[in-house]
């Protein structure tokens, strides 16, 4: 942890929000595109903080390197004048737009907000444990009851008692004796040590960070892509080929 993670998080978070607002309000599309490039770079920084190293590099290569270059090319190719840009006078439906986005944001925050309150998370966990223990004593009848947060929205689910193995597994994750990633990536050796360059080796605890040190690097992701996710991976190839043909056919003056 230390002081660097919050520092970089707030730097990238403020940068991301500021450049997003820039995209929203800048009139000249070229400057909006530059603002969006800054936004994508901030997101890449956040991905590094989330130990998604491969995706951070992909973000810089694909988004800022390929997609945004395409945007800037098109903007320069069209060479739009003031009138062709499309005027942006204030209209009544803009209020509705801001209102809708505000409601979406409020709904999202109301769903996320309980996570901020650590006290409530602790009590909720205790309640679930209590229910699970009750289910232990009275296995068949009581069960694990999940109440609807909004009364009448959907029926309360009365599942049969969760089996003991699953609870033991959850408990082991809580204790730290096991992680959810265990037994998932059999094809690569978790014991293999990952050599961090000396400059980056801040501390042993930081390098581990609660996750496997290989987490999010090229190797485990490539193993997943060619094993479990091989069909989506191949479908991406087909989709990109179709997109190439589509772009050429649509943009051509006449076939």
């Amino acid at each position: 942890m230390g002081v660097w993670e919050p520092l970089f998080f707030w730097l990238f978070a403020v940068g991301a929000v500021a450049t997003s607002v820039g995209v929203l309000f800048i009139k000249n599309p070229l400057y909006a595109a530059l603002s969006l490039i800054g936004d994508f770079l901030c997101f890449a920084g956040l991905y590094v903080l989330l130990s998604a190293h491969f995706l951070a590099v992909t973000q810089v290569l694909v988004y800022t390197g390929a997609i945004m270059i395409l945007f800037v090319f098109i903007i320069m190719l069209l060479n739009l004048n003031e009138q062709e840009l499309g005027e942006r006078q204030f209209r009544l439906h803009h209020i509705l737009a801001y209102l809708t986005a505000g409601i979406v944001f409020a709904l999202a925050v109301s769903a996320i907000a309980p996570l901020v309150d650590q006290q409530q998370v602790a009590t909720e966990r205790q309640r679930v444990q209590q229910q699970a223990q009750n289910a232990d004593g009275d296995e068949a009848s009581e069960g694990f009851r999940v109440e609807s947060p909004v009364p009448g929205l959907y029926a309360a689910v009365n599942e049969p008692a969760i089996n003991r193995d699953f609870r033991a597994q959850i408990q082991s994750w809580e204790d730290g004796t096991a992680t959810p990633a265990d037994e998932k990536y059999r094809t690569y050796d978790p014991d293999r040590s990952f050599e961090v360059p000396p400059v980056l080796r801040a501390s042993e605890a930081q390098a581990q960070g609660g996750t496997s040190s290989m987490f999010g690097t090229v190797e485990p992701i490539s193993i997943l892509l060619v094993n479990r996710f091989v069909v989506p991976f191949e479908l991406i190839a087909v989709l990109l080929l179709a997109a190439i043909f589509g772009a050429v056919v649509i943009a051509k003056k006449r076939l």
Binding site: P29, L50, I112, A247
Partner: protein, 103 residues
């Protein structure tokens, strides 16, 4: 609320940038900026996927983020070709003036 970033910080940041992109899609009338705002929304969703991926120590979310990036690349290529075509026909990239299908 401490300065230390937690799960909720990342999720609220993603929700905020998503909402900003949503406002952009509804308010801006320049087709190019519209596409930029859609890219912004895709990126926010990606951030949510990656946050949960790190939170659950499960790489599936990152794979999904990778797939979203590939789809965004395909969408940008085709979308910009459409913008080019619209500009050739209307001499404008204002989406309010694209009304051929209404007639």
């Amino acid at each position: 609320m401490s300065w230390q970033p937690t799960l909720a910080h990342y999720l609220i940041l993603a929700a905020g940038t998503f909402s900003i992109g949503l406002i952009g899609v509804m308010v801006r009338r320049n087709a190019l900026i519209l596409f930029m705002c859609i890219e912004l929304m895709l990126n926010s969703v990606n951030l949510t996927f990656i946050t949960f991926s790190q939170y659950r120590v499960d790489l599936d979310g990152q794979i999904f983020g990778f797939i979203v990036m590939a789809v965004a690349a395909a969408e940008a290529a085709v979308g910009l070709a459409i913008v080019l075509h619209i500009f050739r026909q209307n001499r404008s990239v204002n989406v309010d003036e694209v009304t051929e299908l209404q007639q």
